[in-house]
């Protein structure tokens, strides 16, 4: 057992620290490259974005060090007051923040502007961790606890929506990962994910396939439904025999369909998939007589709902959404080309990344980003610079670094002896997951354009500091996890 006054730096997870430092420094270099203006400006000049970013990094290091020195029990104790304070600040921001590009989210303090939404992520994580660490707190079977958790999550979401910062608000929905980890039914996540994926895939891939009557997107959705069904039977229902039979049924019929197709027989894809899925569902219902009834019924109905959803996508799209919403979705899915207006950013960013090739054009040789073809290239579209100057090797490396960091944080979370530490760590991981998912997805043209920064990379003190708070509080908690045990 350690004494209370042990130097916390000894137990710091240096792996995480190094990862974060690498990401932050690469980010600063990219910002320099992105805002490089042929005047051969000094990378450290405070006139430049990169110089300012180095200043922010310096200040963030001080901040991080300070956070490490603070006893994490402080955060645990004051989690709710911090959260309430942040909520008040968010509310206040709506009224005192100037209108910057339609959003009221920046508090201007002399030369610097800060975005409270970036900091409230940390406060919300702390509050959520605090809630879950309460005595005997459990999500399972407690509607009251669900409401409490959801309130903590949705309060900042609503305030940030009110600030007109849709992107930042969406980030909080990533905390559903935390709820899932802490006991929320996985079906909620699956249903949400399934809905989004089905919607996107079914709309986006409208090209015909080798089978008649179905588009590529619909085939993809059908295959996903098949995979989900087999997975649910195996993992959720633990009905291995059923899973195996259904799998064989799917693969077998699919192979037969392929053979028929190549023998010149016209296969009606829609009819094929519907009938194959129907047979599998009926089989599952038959299994329900002898197996876990409820789970098998849920599995069968999930597939039915999936098919119904697939058919309703078009209806919803055509009849429920507003025209401008439709337009945005179509553009982001690449179905409609709108290179001058809504699609301009994404198209230019794809050009920049695409022109990078395997190894990229080299530091400061990116012509696209350098010549400001990509708007917001030093903030939300910073990933372009990586793609253009360092190519596939560089951009894939950055993605893998992020993946490593996230997986590392998940493993840190799982090694926490306290619920507080674990929930908090999962919050951090969830935020990172969503930021990476949306930001990179948008830059490479897979997600709609939603303005959220790439952590550690995008220019801006608020974002950097926000993540500094998140990461270093986590490191501080982690470094003292043994003390927690001893206390």
């Amino acid at each position: 057992m350690e004494s209370k006054n042990t130097n916390p730096l000894r137990y710091i997870d240096w792996f995480t620290v190094v990862l974060v430092l690498v990401l932050v420094c690469t980010g600063a270099v990219c910002i320099y490259a992105a805002s490089y203006d042929f005047d051969h400006a000094n990378i450290f000049s405070f006139e430049e974005f990169s110089g300012k970013q180095f200043l922010w990094i310096g200040l963030a290091s001080v901040l991080g060090l300070t956070l490490l020195l603070i006893d994490p029990r402080f955060y645990e104790t004051y989690a709710f007051p911090i959260y309430i304070g942040m909520i008040c600040l968010l509310a206040l921001t709506i009224f005192i923040a100037p209108n910057i590009k339609g959003s009221h989210s920046w508090i201007v303090l002399g030369p610097v502007s800060l975005q409270p939404a970036e900091f409230s992520k940390c406060a919300t994580a702390l509050a959520l961790a605090k809630l879950f660490s309460g005595y005997n707190f459990t999500l399972a079977g407690s509607r009251k606890n669900y409401i409490k958790a959801l309130t903590i999550i949705l309060l900042p979401v609503m305030l940030i929506f009110a600030q007109n910062e849709t992107g930042s608000a969406l980030v909080y929905f990533s905390l559903f990962f935390v709820l899932y980890r802490e006991g929320m039914s996985g079906l909620v996540l699956l249903a949400a994910l399934g809905a989004v994926v089905f919607f996107v895939v079914a709309l986006k891939f409208a090209e015909p396939t080798m089978f008649t009557g179905v588009t590529q997107g619909q085939v993809a959705v059908f295959i996903m439904l098949m995979v989900i069904m087999v997975a649910m039977l195996a993992i959720y229902c633990k009905h291995m025999e059923g899973a195996r039979n259904v799998l064989f049924w799917y693969v077998g019929t699919f192979v037969i369909a392929l053979i028929l197709h190549f023998c010149g027989v016209t296969v009606n894809g829609m009819l094929f998939f519907i009938s194959v899925l129907s047979v599998a569902c009926i089989y599952t219902l038959i299994l329900a007589f002898r197996g876990p009834v409820k789970k098998l019924l849920i599995t069968a109905s999930a597939v039915v709902v999936g098919v119904v959803f697939l058919f309703s996508v078009n209806y919803v799209f055509e009849n429920v959404l507003q025209p401008h919403q439709k337009q945005r979705i179509l553009v982001s899915l690449g179905i409609e080309e709108d290179l001058k207006a809504a699609g301009y950013n994404v198209n230019q960013s794809k050009i920049a990344i695409g022109s990078g090739g395997l190894a990229g054009k080299g530091f400061l040789n990116g012509t696209q980003t350098k010549l400001k073809f990509v708007p917001e290239q030093h903030t939300d579209f910073i990933f372009c610079t990586i793609g253009e100057e360092y190519g596939l090797i560089g951009s894939a490396t950055v993605l893998l670094l992020f993946l490593t960091l996230i997986l590392r944080i998940i493993s840190i979370a799982e090694r926490q002896p306290s619920t507080f530490g674990r929930v908090y760590a999962y919050c951090v991981a969830s935020y990172l997951i969503l930021h990476l998912f949306i930001n990179v997805g948008m830059v490479i043209g897979l997600c709609p354009v939603i303005g959220i920064p790439l952590p550690f990379f995008s220019y801006g003190g608020s974002s950097l500091w926000g993540f500094t708070f998140l990461i270093f509080i986590l490191l501080s908690i982690d470094a003292r996890r043994r003390e927690h045990l001893s206390s």
Binding site: G356, G357, T367, I406, L407, P417, F437, I444
Partner: protein
């Protein structure tokens, strides 16, 4: 401390989620960066401005080294809209000599143009004359954002030979599609040698690779000009034309419709190539080109139609020497063969008229007097000579082959665009018209005197004349003698040797000499040069006969072969002979003898265009 090990497994779901996402993204990056190439091209056109450096266009000289076409600077007013500050509109208008409305219209046009950007150079006005440029230059400081860009225009020392020289124009979309060398705003040759020698004249554009940002603003040279390429100036051309002869021939052809072609027989070099009416090449330069061009298009006399190489005319009696050659070669006649002429060819109920002269006649006097009957008889005897050829059709094919070898019926391959091939029918043609074996010599007798279906360009007639002058061969006629710094090995310029014996050419040449000394071409006689010639009076269903002449001089060792064709000019002797002989005299003596000044005068002042039947509105 509560730890639910069941829930802990969920870390795999969350970790797996981001793992799959990252995997998908990496696949997407592979697709974008490795598999898809269109983004690389887009990036290049996005960020690089390949600024063309225009080479100077090749200069054109005539055969004696006289400067014919050169370049003169012209100035375009450019502006960068972003840099333009409020200025005195009236001052600018006065300087440029335009009204305010015109200026505003120009600004509006500029903004409407595809690719308009506030940050990149825009053209306000093109082709300012040097004096306008001078005026503007003084005041340019008053108009920030405006600047002047130098361009090159063609200028002409001798304002003649528009049909040969051609002109230059801005490239069309079609040009750019056809040849990737061109980009919008480039110039290319139109008509004449400017077109046919475009690749030599234009040189090669250089390129300066500049980088520009999203606003089109130039950010500097890429890699300090490592990828830049200097321009290569166009090659200078030396024409085979004698530009002063051209000028003289054009002056003789004023107010006449037709053509004059003169060839140096030995080399095939075209000495002059006149199409009348013609136009001044200087009217096709710069800002006025559009207007001039439109006017030329609408001109009922079709000055853009190069009658010398595109006009297909009945050659009339100028065709007779070819008949003599063929009959001699095929053994239909010898120099002693005589055919009767009772004021024409009368056979099988057919009558082809002729004028009064002795009868019967052998070949040479027939050429001398241009006797129709002789050639009709010869033709009939050839086509109907089954003992030798088997059938009329076969005989006709032999006849046709000889003519093709003499340069008729197909393009000669002159180095000018849009040459016409004339027309020599073949047996199939008549089989179609009359039915197989339903025609004979008499059916088509008029072709023997260069009428009927026969059509030839003045160039073909001149070329045939050159073949006789050479006593049996011709070199592909051409207007460009040499290209500077280039060994011009155009395989198209070759020696053609028709399958007709030299002695027959000698005979025909003698006949043509006799026509000048005592026949139809007496007016062609020159004081101390032995001229040979053959008139032609081509009947024409649309009006007055065409006046034609072909001739060469001197008789021995000829230096010039000429063809004159004047539409609706009447007798060959009326216009053809005098103009042809004046052209020969001018070329050979450089001056017209005093005794012939009156003839020269009358040719310059005569007008046959009034007989053309074309009314100018």
């Amino acid at each position: 401390m509560r730890k639910d090990y069941n829930l802990e497994k969920r870390k795999y779901v969350i970790g797996g989620f981001i793992f799959v996402i990252v995997l998908i993204y990496i696949f997407r990056l592979v697709d974008l960066q490795i598999l898809e190439t269109k983004y690389k091209d887009s990036a290049d056109s996005n960020a690089f401005l390949r600024k063309a450096i225009y080479p100077s266009r090749g200069i054109i000289y005539d055969r004696d080294g006289r400067l014919v076409v050169y370049n003169q600077p012209s100035y375009d007013i450019m502006l960068i809209p972003k840099d333009v500050q409020p200025f005195d509109t009236l001052d600018l208008c006065n300087t440029l000599g335009i009204t305010k409305e015109v200026l505003l219209e120009r600004f509006a046009d500029m903004r409407r143009k595809v690719g308009y950007s506030k940050y990149s150079p825009q053209t306000l006005m093109t082709h300012l004359a040097p004096e306008e440029y001078g005026r503007l230059q003084e005041k340019l400081y008053r108009f920030p954002g405006f600047y002047v860009q130098k361009r090159i225009l063609r200028a002409y020392n001798y304002d003649v030979a528009g049909n040969v020289l051609g002109n230059i124009r801005e490239v069309s979309q079609k040009d750019m599609d056809k040849d990737p060398y061109y980009t919008r705003g480039d110039y290319t040759g139109d008509l004449g040698i400017e077109k046919s020698y475009e690749k030599f004249l234009r040189g090669a554009k250089g390129v300066e690779v500049l980088m520009r940002d999203a606003h089109g603003k130039i950010q500097g040279r890429y890699e300090d000009g490592a990828l830049d390429r200097p321009s290569v100036p166009g090659k200078d051309l030396t024409l085979s034309l004698d530009i002063e002869l051209q000028q003289y021939a054009e002056s003789l052809m004023v107010n006449k419709i037709g053509a004059v072609v003169a060839i140096e027989p030995e080399t095939g070099e075209i000495l002059c190539l006149v199409s009348s009416p013609t136009y001044k090449p200087s009217t096709m330069v710069g800002r006025q080109r559009g207007k001039s061009y439109a006017a030329l298009i609408q001109d009922p006399y079709k000055p853009l139609f190069d009658r010398a190489i595109q006009g297909s005319y009945p050659p009339g009696s100028t065709f007779k020497p070819s008949q003599g050659l063929i009959f001699l070669q095929e053994g239909i006649i010898d120099l002693n063969t005589q055919y009767p002429c009772h004021h024409g060819y009368i056979n099988g109920g057919l009558r082809v008229g002729c004028h009064a002269h002795g009868s019967p006649l052998p070949l040479l006097p027939s050429l001398q007097t241009s006797c129709n009957a002789f050639f009709c008889w010869g033709f009939k005897n050839m086509i109907d000579k089954r003992s030798q050829f088997g059938s009329s059709a076969k005989a006709f094919e032999v006849w046709k082959t000889h003519l093709v070898e003499l340069g008729y019926g197909y393009k000669l391959g002159v180095d000018l665009p849009n040459e016409s091939r004339g027309f020599i029918p073949n047996a199939k043609f008549y089989n179609k018209v009359y039915g197989e074996d339903h025609w004979s010599g008499n059916t088509i007798i008029s072709v023997s005197i260069g009428q009927g279906e026969i059509l030839a360009t003045p160039l073909q007639i001149a070329n045939f004349c050159a073949t006789i002058a050479n006593r049996g061969y011709y070199i592909t006629p051409h207007v460009v003698k040499s290209i500077k710094d280039t060994v011009y090995t155009d395989s198209a310029i070759v020696k053609h040797i028709p399958n007709i014996d030299r002695k027959h050419f000698e005979a025909v040449a003698e006949g043509m000499r006799m026509a000048v000394t005592g026949g139809t071409c007496r007016r062609a006689a020159l004081p101390d040069i032995e001229v040979c010639g053959k008139t032609g009076t081509a009947q024409n269903p649309h009006g007055k006969d065409h006046s034609a002449f072909m001739g060469f001089a001197p008789y021995h060792n000829p230096k010039i072969a000429v063809c004159v064709y004047v539409e609706n000019g009447g007798w060959g002797a009326t216009y053809g002979v005098p103009i042809g002989s004046l052209v020969m005299e001018k070329y050979l003596k450089r001056t017209i003898s005093p005794a012939r000044k009156a003839m020269e005068e009358s040719m310059i002042n005569s007008n046959s265009i009034i007989y053309s039947g074309v009314k100018k509105h």
